[in-house]
Amino acid sequence: MSQADRTFDPVETLPRPELEALQEQRLLALLPYAFERSGLVRETWQAAGVHPREIRSLADFRERVPFVDKDAIRRYRDRHGDPYGGVLCVDPGELTAVMSTSGTTGDPTLVAERWEGEVSGGLGLARDFWEIGVRPGDYLTCMLFTFRGPFFAQFTAIGAAPVFFDHHPDEFRRWCEASLALRPTAQYTLSGPLVAALQQLEPRLPFDLKDVFSSYRGIVFAGEPLGRAARRKAEEWGIKFHLQTSLGDVGAATECREHDGCHAWEDTALVEHLEPEGAAPVADGERGELVVTSLANHTMPLVRYRSDDLVRLTRRRCGCGRTHARIWPLGRKGDEVLVAGRGILPVDVWEAVEAIPETSAGLFQIIRTQRECDALRLRVGFAGEGAPPRGLAERVAASVFQRVGVEPRVELVPQGELLRLGPPHKIPRVAKQ
């Protein structure tokens, strides 16, 4: 496949100087608009003594523009009784839809949208699935929810026909039958809980899963990090997972066929990679906080939004030829717990939990009563019901100690208890108790 055939939109391989010129052009058009119409932007900038007329370049933006975060949006919402947190820039009467975030860790927040026809959210997914190898006339299975609206219209934009399933293990038998009948090219999505469920179901299914998966060129794995156990299972089944991660709250980033970081579409968002407790940029490839500014959303644009997401990021050209930044998600800044001077994120514990057969689904929570704790406490889901196997807590603790250098206190619960805590595609990885 030539590189030209590999991309859906020529902007994907735009040389960096041209991409950054495009970003600057879109940013400088957005800022006065957002200052005028977004109560949160105006309030934040006025408090910082900044006005859009002073921002004439990306460099000015990086030097002078203040940050906002989720707490700032919530405070604005509560002070002003504004359900959109001061971010909405249009009259509510102009909206096509009001959707919401997933609500994994609290009440979902509102996401106001204006659509072009019946397509919401631009064509980022179209690019991702074109890269995976979906082409006009293909079938593409969708195993997801409705609360994000008609994302599947992006697949019809590339001439593919979505086949619809709910994100639930009860769908697997029907999904196997449809996969064998229609031979889809790709799927959006599978998640950790579903992979674990399919693994448990496999011996009872009257299908060879390698055969079921044989037509799929790629499956987008979303909701949480892709652990080693899930990747191993994918190899056994003969499939390639493409990790997808959130790009702040302005979109998503997905792995290409190089599987070396998730591409953030930088024509739609200005992506910064900064020190978690400061404003200085972090070196390419190092751990930093993802800070995003919408470039293509004039309905509810976020401007210099600190996402709380820790990532590694590179702007080096990818082996696929794309020039947009790639990110590797590491976890949420607010999820880090300090134990004996060591910072620990859920991703640090993940493989250790997956390494034990009874807990290989990787379902666990870190109990984080405060940022600094005297001990690492884990709640870990095991396969089965009733009492956990003898010695299991000790084996999990030893595995974690081997990888992290801190011996945890392990509470074991049946997996089902953890799965009930979240939406179908993930669980909250940190709990206060």
Partner: protein, 229 residues
Amino acid sequence: MAERAIERDPGAVLGVGRFRVGETSVLHPFSEADRARDARSCEGLLDLAGVARGDAVLIVSLLSEAAAYWPLLGACVARGAILSCADATPFDASRVRMFCRQLGLRAVLGLHPATLAGLRDLGADPAQVFREVPVLAARPGAREELRAAGLEPRLWLELGPALALECAPGSGAHLDPELWEVEASAGELRITSRGPRLTPLARQGTGLRGRVASGPCPCGRPGPRVTPD
């Protein structure tokens, strides 16, 4: 510089949904022409619910039901209603509650027993959650629970891939006579599609038992009305 423009044949497969027949599911391929025609028909459902331009509408459904609900989204867009979506699952009950609290909804369409189960898990009283919503269109099972809570839901029904709505509680759910015929055969409701369709249905069983009324409805809308047992 622009992305690829892909032309589609409106008669080709646009998507593949499913509809339930009792405990089984039937794969249902549909075309863009079907979706567009069904979307125009769904505007009739919005008329029944009194949804006007600028009204907020919450649709509660599952992704697997997209063959029926994608046209309904299109009808809301065409009407200029402001659309929200929630999954018909217990987990998404908190989302339904949040939308009811924040958006001044005109109608909730497709309210599902799973949502009510989720509200129970949250300790939320449906009478409080839905008290400000003028039109509650509820599926069988949910309708009865909402009535018991002192609310006045209208019946919302899926018959194969077709959607139907009561004009008023107790009137029977209206089905679009231009697109569908319905009969009760040995007590089971069967539907037949009218006009061209990628996947025509002829006396398709629905797994639902019920009655069909063909006489005039007090609302003046023509066509059959369905009441499940």
